[in-house]
Amino acid sequence: MITLQWVYSLVGLMFASFAILGALDRSNRKRFGNAAFWGLMALSLLAGSWLGDLANGFLVLALAGLAGFGLMGRGTPVTTSEGERLTWSHQLGNRLFLSALVIPATALAGTLAFRYTALGGLGWIEPNRETFVFLCLGSLLALLVLYAWLRPPPTASLQEGRRLIDAIGWAVVLPQMLAALGVVFAAAGVGDVIGGAAGAVIPGGSIFLSVLVFGIGMALFTMIMGNAFAAFPVMAAAIGVPLLIQTYHGDPAVVGAIGMLAGFCGTLMTPMAANFNMVPAALLELKDRNGVIKAQIGTAVPLLAVNIGLIYFLAF
């Protein structure tokens, strides 16, 4: 049976290649920082199941240290020039989009086939993990197509992948760290405390008011932190899980998915989300630094209301 570990191993090998290629990139003054960071990610994915909890814990502390103390730089892998890209873009046309579609098409078709046909009963793939397996297969298939079609140098895909991963930097691991924070919150009883307090405050055990507090809380927390990813584990521990899911038996998929989108409405309204709201105002030379936010509030507020309504009507 293809298990999640197969997938981790493949992704781990990719990170290991980023680490090796990064260590060889002399243009990056902090190349060993990058190599260590991606190397630790590779180690986690390849061997995390066997390292034991304590060693994994030190691995996390090392990742946080490398990221937090500015020990990572940015490599400059060999890539094509702007002129070459324009020429390619003219020659290849919309077939470029088409080959990008190989990934979602494979992931979706594979997931659906295993969920709704007899294939799912054969026990080839770990249940509920089919999407990840087919995401990897789709990526490999897309690479196969691209290599056969465009014949780039053998290491091109890994070098281009490293170009992108270096540009994102430690933010690659932030969602995983935030999810881990959610686990620690849950273990420490944060959810029980807030759930108990909120349950006592919200009058008469009203489902609607609980949904309202959850939706607005997601948006507000996101506005304060500038990041819906950070708000989600907190609000899930506080209200989403203890109140909406456990007490009122709301559908966890709806509460989770639309709760996150309520957070995105908050992202539209905060200067803390600098990349989305402040940087564009500067890029476009707006006189009002908050011009983009002002243009978004009129969409974000009604959309937040829609999300709250959707949770209320779809989850219960």
């Binding site: 994994n56 959610g182 620690v184 639309i258 989108l261 011009g291």
Partner: protein, 225 residues
């Protein structure tokens, strides 16, 4: 007085740390360690808990498997192709042009191509100037106030399209984060179960923002009279 509330210190650390613009990786680590310590866990137990939590959430790292493909496509002009597609959009008004861009952004983000457009890549060089040109052509020159508004709406449209398109893609970070967080509490969901619930909001976002773009057109017209 209420010692059970002390575990909420972790939330305060996250909020304060993010507000002070400290490195988020450090903030999150400190918040996790502090919360565990207040809950009465020893150092070894604490580091082990963090290690297990991180290890159990490795599925979130899987989404990066697409990077070599996206990088290879970029090497062969994917972003330039996206720019060419945007350049070919023709609409009589600034608002309608931005509606087209909103659709393009939502659809491509839903297919996992959220990196082909963005503020530096497409809004600043293409979408904002094109929207301004459409407004100027229609109204025969526009005043500063209107130009500011058109530019701000161009950036806003990119954000709305990106945010409310990407969550339909089954392998985006936020979907896997939701999955992992809920799994902590014993709810085992597949990414597809979550992604489909992003679809109603995607339609609502398109409708609400499109209506506002068409109202922008009306505002521009009124100002000229």
């Amino acid at each position: 007085m209420f010692p059970q509330y002390f575990v909420l210190a972790g939330i305060l650390i996250v909020v304060a740390g993010f507000a002070l613009r400290l490195n988020p990786m450090l903030v999150v680590t400190v918040a996790a360690l502090a919360t565990g310590a207040i809950a009465g866990k020893g150092a070894i137990e604490l580091i082990s808990l963090l290690g297990k939590a991180f290890n159990d959430n490795r599925a979130i790292a899987i989404v990066w498997i697409v990077l070599p493909v996206i990088g290879l496509l970029e090497r062969h002009g994917l972003k330039e192709r996206a720019a060419a597609t945007i350049r070919r959009m023709t609409a009589a008004t600034a608002g309608r042009l931005l509606v087209l861009y909103l659709l393009f952004r939502q659809v491509t983000a839903a297919l996992g191509l959220n990196s082909i457009a963005g503020h530096p890549q497409t809004v600043r060089p293409l979408v904002a100037p094109m929207a301004l040109a459409a407004a100027e052509q229609q109204h025969g020159g526009i005043e500063d106030e209107s130009a500011e508004e058109v530019k701000a709406y161009a950036a806003a449209t990119d954000n709305v399209g990106n945010f409310f398109g990407e969550d339909i893609f089954i392998a985006i970070g936020s979907i896997v984060l939701i999955q992992s967080t809920l799994a902590t509490y014993g709810y085992d969901l597949a990414p597809l179960d979550l992604a489909i619930w992003a679809i109603p909001t995607a339609f609502a976002a398109f409708l609400i923002h499109s209506l506002r773009l068409l109202r922008l057109d009306r505002r521009l017209r009124r100002r000229r009279k």
